[in-house]
Symmetry: C2
Subunit: 223 residues, 2 copies
């Protein structure tokens, strides 16, 4: 039955606006479209061969995902987070991930493995100097933490927060180096969880957030 559910999801993926939005999202997160850039309706619509109305619909989907921002009568821009945005993002993450982590003892083993596995992957990839994928594994680690909450709404919202944070990394020119710096923290958090000392793991996570926020904010306000 799971294959049927999968197929249904693929079928529903129709919609030109959805496909355009997916393409643009990829371009933005890859860095081809830099934060702060204005996306002209005419230029992009012409390049992609879709009408303005459809393109505007794709824009709306991406503003919902925090990828773009819409300014009335001025157009849409690739989101360009500043220091205040980063502080806000980490304030949200502290509450969400801290709250989720405290559910460690109440969740399924599968959910716990979704936290442990990405750290193992990140370590393995870092040893091979495969840093681009180390970052992806780091994100998976945090997605696993949010997953402990058991709410798809919360996981979806966190994905949007992560996307915004990725843009902040890009503005700070920290796309690759950032994640590996904090890899030891993640490893320590998993150790503490495995020891059953959940509160200590939460505290460690908070320290990670403090350090990461301070680092990122200083690099953003330096510009």
């Amino acid at each position: 039955m799971s294959t049927l559910a999968q197929g249904k999801a693929d079928l529903e993926r129709a919609s030109t606006a959805q496909k355009v939005a997916d393409m643009l999202r990829e371009r933005v997160l890859d860095g081809e479209l830099e934060p702060g850039l204005r996306l002209s309706e005419e230029a992009i619509g012409g390049a992609l061969g879709v009408s303005r109305n459809t393109l505007r619909e794709a824009f709306r989907l991406l503003t919902r995902d925090r990828i773009l921002v819409h300014e009335h009568s001025r157009g849409v821009f690739v989101r360009r987070p500043n220091g205040d945005d980063v502080r806000d993002l980490y304030a949200a993450r502290r509450v969400i991930e801290g709250g989720a982590l405290r559910r460690w003892n109440d969740v399924s083993e599968k959910q716990r493995e979704a936290v442990r596995t990405p750290v193992r992957q990140a370590v393995a990839r870092a040893e091979k100097n495969d840093f681009s994928r180390t970052g992806a594994a780091n994100i998976q680690f945090h997605r696993g933490i949010v997953g402990l909450a058991g709410s798809v709404r919360l996981s979806d919202e966190s994905d949007r927060l992560f996307a915004e944070l990725m843009l902040a990394f890009r503005v700070a020119h920290e796309v690759e180096a950032f994640h590996q710096t904090y890899l030891p923290w993640n490893r320590k958090i998993v150790e503490l969880l495995n020891d059953g000392t959940v509160e200590q793991a939460v505290q460690q996570l908070d320290e990670y957030f403090d350090a990461a926020e301070q680092d990122l904010v200083s690099r953003l306000t330096a510009d």
Copy 2:
């Protein structure tokens, strides 16, 4: 200067789609447009005197706010939460509000007052049998709790979750009675916070969520 910022917000309030979305949101939350109802583009667009494209844009804004759901090639519907949705919503609230409440000792006095005041108001209004406004005060209480996190993104997302929950109340025919039932809980939580026993307050909040979720789910799956 605050008046200037206010004026700017008013000026930016333009956009036909935005006004249409505001009107529709009100109609939905008031109950005029029932959960599950399909909103015809032609009918509503004609009634409101706006073009289909503009109306579709308003629809997208409301799907972002969890008021409407969009089904491809079928149209948009007033969201109609089911039991699984409610469980997901409370899973999210447990983590968000629990995590926010634990920040009690780290936040400003103003933030703490934003939690205490709504409970006082709710008590006063309940004594006057003003139940419709009791519910509003109850929501303010929980908004105050989320506000302890100090993240506008998290507060905004919580507002969307609350809106969805309001729809669930409506489906369960519990719009008015629900909030006052749990007023004693809120009062107890504030007492525990004032006593400085934050962890006990969190535990009390969790019990509130357990009871509220169970109540609401049973009424939803009964249909």
